[in-house]
Subunit: 199 residues, 2 copies
Amino acid sequence: MFSAIDMEEHVVRPIGRRGESRARVLEAAVKLFSENGVSGTSLRMIADELGVTKAAVYHQFASKEEIVLAVAQPAVDGLTSAADHAEQQSPPHARFDAALEGLVAVVIQQRASAVVIRDPVAARLLETHSQYRIALNRIQDFLIGSEPTEEARIALALLGGSLFVSGTDPALIAVGADRLRATLQETARNLLQPFRPPA
Amino acid sequence: MFSAIDMEEHVVRPIGRRGESRARVLEAAVKLFSENGVSGTSLRMIADELGVTKAAVYHQFASKEEIVLAVAQPAVDGLTSAADHAEQQSPPHARFDAALEGLVAVVIQQRASAVVIRDPVAARLLETHSQYRIALNRIQDFLIGSEPTEEARIALALLGGSLFVSGTDPALIAVGADRLRATLQETARNLLQPFRPPA
DNA sequence: GTCTATAGGGAGATAGAC
DNA sequence: GTCTATCTCCCTATAGAC
């Protein structure tokens, strides 16, 4: 069944645990996506970055789409958690606060995932991912209510732009997480204050 | 010199004036860039959109890079004009006001050009365009001074994100120019207020 | 200003050996 | 888990006729 060589592989390469190769592919993909965009990054570039062939990458992911979705998944999970946490608060103002802080926290923790929505095609792909749409809609409800005015929708879109650059602008990479979080929360509060859902 | 046929061409096809074909290429390019991104748009797609062949497009522009730069040029010119106009004001607060209003006006009038900076490779290309860098630096000086603090640079980056989505977010396309301009000016003022250059 | 034709290369993806 | 080899298609760009 298992040869001595197989056993030894497990001893001398503890690094080869299940999922390690997938993670390395995603790491390389995020780096290249942020430099060249999703459409500007080929599977060959990802393979070269890892020092392997394209076929090795295709062993981990069936398609480029799968890689894109896997890159975005941590952020999608973060948004879902943020919506769950906000929902557990009882007064509406506490839900607003929790949703806003959760949203900013995802941007801070998952900055890299923003590269996906920078590409229009990848962004559309993500929008077909129901978990993503649902989480965003729930957070939107907590922030500006379920029937927002046009002004509220504009404000939310402008906030989205600010959050987006926080994840993609090279000039902000050097900024510490704490300072960036504080600025984002203040900015978000100022933008959305007039449109908070009624109690 | 000019044959009768040449003359007749001018009569029956007044539409074929110099530059018309270039303009049609740019119009198609902007549309496709916004749908698929710059890297996701091929010259074949542009040609198909116009009902011609790739070679016809190459007759107007020597390369894809040239198309990208030509798409961005109206915005670059707008930024330069805005910087010129701000410079003519004398008190610093008037320069701030003029720079801010000029910047917002460019975003409103040249929304389509934002598609170029959505692509990381195209954005880098644009940054090698000295007229663009110079205009942006001048406007930055009027808004947050020539030696901004880190907080000021963060605020300016966040504003940049909001301006950027104004040009690219499909949800904002339906918003009237006047309402969007007013919201952007207010947002920009709130974001930059604490960092205005000293008088 | 538009066409056909072509060059030279890279894309995503698959088959099958090790 | 990685490889070589290959398929098919599309890419940017150019040459030269009309």
